[in-house]
Amino acid sequence: MAATDVSIALNRFGLGARPDEGIPDDPKAWLKHQIEAFDPKPAAIAAVPPRAKVAGELADFYEQQRQLRQMGLGRRQQQRAATAPTPPGQPGMMPPGAPQDMTMGSAAAVVPPGTPEPGAKPDADDPLKEARRFVGRQVRDDYAAAVGARANAALSSTAPFADRLTHFWANHFAVSADKLQVIGLSGLLEFEAIRPNLTRTFGDMLNAVERHPAMLLYLDQAVSVGPNSTAGRFAARRPRANGRKLGLNENLAREIMELHTLGVRSGYTQADVTEFARALTGWSVAGIGRGPGARMAGTDGTPGDFVFAERLHEPGERTIIGRKYGQDGEKQAQAVLDTLATSPATAQHIATKLARHFAGDTPPPALVQRLQASFVKTGGDLPSLYHVLIDSPECWVQQPVKFKSPWEWTVSAYRALGMKQVQPLAAVGLLNQLGQPTWKPGSPAGYDDIAASWAGPDALVRRVEASERFATRAGAQVDARALAPKLFPKTLTPATEQALARAESPGQALALLLVSPEMLRR
């Protein structure tokens, strides 16, 4: 299949053609214009439940759990409570019995692990039962609404290349909605930290992401306490009843270096991670824990807001990768982030991932080099990077370079069908079935961006089954023979054309088009 430039612009750079969308005359100009025209907050996204509501529900939930605990629990539950970490300074933030990690099998049936053992009749006030209800609500009301908004924004976007880039960055800065605190906030990270910074600098985006409540909660930064901070010294004098200690949590510091900026094995050491973790102490989320502890720690406030809690911050100068940071308070970690954001290792890391996304699973070294040079020269200016991609011949090779992920395939199928609205729960369910639940990669590394992760026999059968369902609903109204050349201008293979022409019904032709090699790759 030799793709034309127009087809490449629509499918490899964009999210797949819409039949009602004009075919661009000048593919490169069309793509460059999208970077200017990108709307960070289209109507679909403006309508999602706001952060204060989602975080407020989380705060209410923890408050309820705290009260349940105070009212007294059975011995068994108290024992279980001892296994769950409780954050310092924010008593009740991590309630007893509330599992840290919850799985969302489907949007409708949400069963957390650690359900009561057989024979144990759950109390009406059982914290676990309450936790399950809370997860169900957040999945239904907040998570699904956000997935639907993401899909609807992608379907009606007139800047699909820019939307593709938001999906790329959200996966680069991945949180995973299998953690209770993150379920409802996961989409907001993309909407509030990624989209508004899509066309600024990498440092701007990095800063917004690392201050976002979804990231601070996901990578446990919100519960990290400097051992020599006010709160740390106070706690050291008064051991907690459950025996747990307060202290430093290195999770976010490590993943910023390993995943978000420098890249793994790029030269930093464990000592650098620990020092960065110390610098980051105090970066937290307001209003999730209530009561005297939160007030004491200085983390009270509007739920979900970023807060710098001075009383959690480890005092002193830090040395990270050979550089001294003597700043006070919040500015210290900020200075470290600023350094990391423009480091040559970061440039190399980001260049490699961008090249992989647009030029193939094995990124061409020349393209990586070009991207890296631009990153270093411009201090991480993102539009400059996008222009390098558009202007690089490696991104325009005629053979398809990528096997679409389930998300990419689903969006391109919806767009091919001319859909502009999907039911949120339908989108959630479909992505689950296809193997790529949105914002739920299960790890801060995000989803893989290589064919080996997505091109499997069972995965392919699921796409065929989904296509047949799409076609059952839309088949009679759509003539796949006329649609195909609009989706893949002058690019269709004779094999696909023949399969469509010979299909026994319009519906079957549509199903075949949706799983054609042209549609599965970009």
Binding site: L460, T472, A476, T496, A503, P506, A511, L512
Partner: protein
């Protein structure tokens, strides 16, 4: 969905409202049911109703003719495929009638265009915008003009100004073996996809019996249709879509499975309809037939004349209606296909007119307005 007021408002606006008072005094509603089972993909008429009495049949059809040795003999010329055991019983009970060497006005060989003609009732593809079943709702007694499509969307045959609803439970499994086969063909030249697909299909073969699944699905669909058609306030007209009839390769086993499914669907309709079966007429028809000769892959290619069926207690059955053209080389249409000697339009119009006791000329003019100068077939129904 079927209360009279909304039906009137949705159907024909002011004209229907003006007629409303008279309708209230119309004769008591009968309980006639009409079902159209469309066979998408060009069902092989000769493979369904074999012309065993034609001297050229066995020679032209080879292996495909052999199955009919075990099939029910219908008359001196025809036998029914042995997979259709329930239908054979209905034929004996004079509840099944077959028409052979029949075709719509369409004479080319594209599924898309052929189905468009079959459903729109026009002479050529895309000439008529709505469907003959929808127009039918305007000529039959209005109390019986309540139609439902057993599918997620409304097929062309039922689209038009009259209100039609559709229903397909999301859990209704799709019979997709044919799609799976075509996907395999589509991936033939793509080494990555071909490898993945072969692996997936090998696993599937190990874990499920495809024949069983598709026959069960067909029976379940028949049952569902009966449930929608029997209640006092239920639908009176339904359309069911079937696929998988495009048997270009390996026809012997594939068509047997298809016919087994159709037989199961008809049997479950009969069971489900209960006493209403006596007032039921089911039409089974396809867009065109298949070549008389067997091709190089044990299948048949797109042809012209095929067979159609009327099934149900309201059908004057137990016979085959055919002006048999013969299968000798000289008798074939364009040297390859069964020559159509009966118009599907006249057959359908005659069936509808007889079933609903409506003047045949009016039915013909409404359902198939372009088909001029052809008289509807009479005597197809018991009424």
């Amino acid at each position: 969905m079927y209360d009279r007021r909304s039906f009137l408002i949705h159907s024909a606006g002011a004209a229907a409202l003006a007629l409303a008072p008279r309708m209230a005094f119309a004769k008591a509603e009968t309980d006639r049911r009409f079902v159209f089972i469309i066979q998408r993909g060009a069902a092989d008429g000769l493979g369904t109703i074999g012309a065993v009495g034609d001297p050229a049949f066995a020679g032209a059809r080879g292996q495909l003719a052999e199955d009919f040795a075990a099939g029910k003999r219908l008359d001196a010329t025809f036998a029914l495929h042995p997979a259709m055991t329930s239908l054979a019983g209905m034929y004996d009970a004079k509840e099944a009638l077959f028409a052979h060497a029949i075709a719509s006005p369409y004479r080319d060989r594209s599924h898309f265009d052929g189905q468009n003609v079959l459903e729109s009732g026009g002479l050529g593809a895309y000439q008529v915008k709505d469907g003959w079943m929808n127009r039918m709702l305007g000529v039959i007694p209005s109390g019986e003009a309540k139609a439902i499509a057993i599918s997620a969307t409304i097929p062309l045959a039922m689209r038009g100004p009259h209100e039609v609803t559709s229903y397909a439970p999301s859990a209704l499994p799709q019979a997709s073996d044919d799609l799976l086969t075509r996907v395999a063909a589509l991936y033939q030249g793509d080494s990555q996809l071909h490898g993945l697909w072969s692996e997936a299909m090998d696993t599937r073969q190990l874990t499920s019996d495809l024949v069983d699944v598709s026959v069960k699905n067909a029976a379940a669909t028949g049952q569902l249709a009966a449930r929608l058609l029997t209640p006092a306030n239920g639908a009176r007209i339904a359309m069911i879509e079937t696929g998988g009839w495009d048997t270009h390769a390996g026809q012997r086993s594939r068509l047997a499975t298809q016919l087994k499914g159709l037989d199961a669907m008809l049997a479950s309709l009969k069971t489900g309809m209960g006493p209403v079966w006596n007032d039921t007429m089911i039409l089974v028809a396809t867009e065109f037939g298949r070549t008389v000769a067997v091709n190089g892959t044990g299948g048949t290619d797109h042809g012209t004349g095929s067979a159609a069926m009327l099934v149900g207690g309201a059908v004057k059955g137990g016979r085959v209606v055919a002006d048999w053209p013969g299968l000798g080389q000289a008798a074939l249409f364009e040297g390859r296909d069964l020559k159509p000697t009966l118009g599907l339009d006249q057959f359908v119009a005659g069936a509808v007119a007889g079933h609903y006791q409506v003047e045949p000329g009016k039915v013909m003019a409404t359902l198939f307005p372009e088909t001029k100068g052809a008289a509807p077939v009479s005597g197809l129904s018991r009424a």
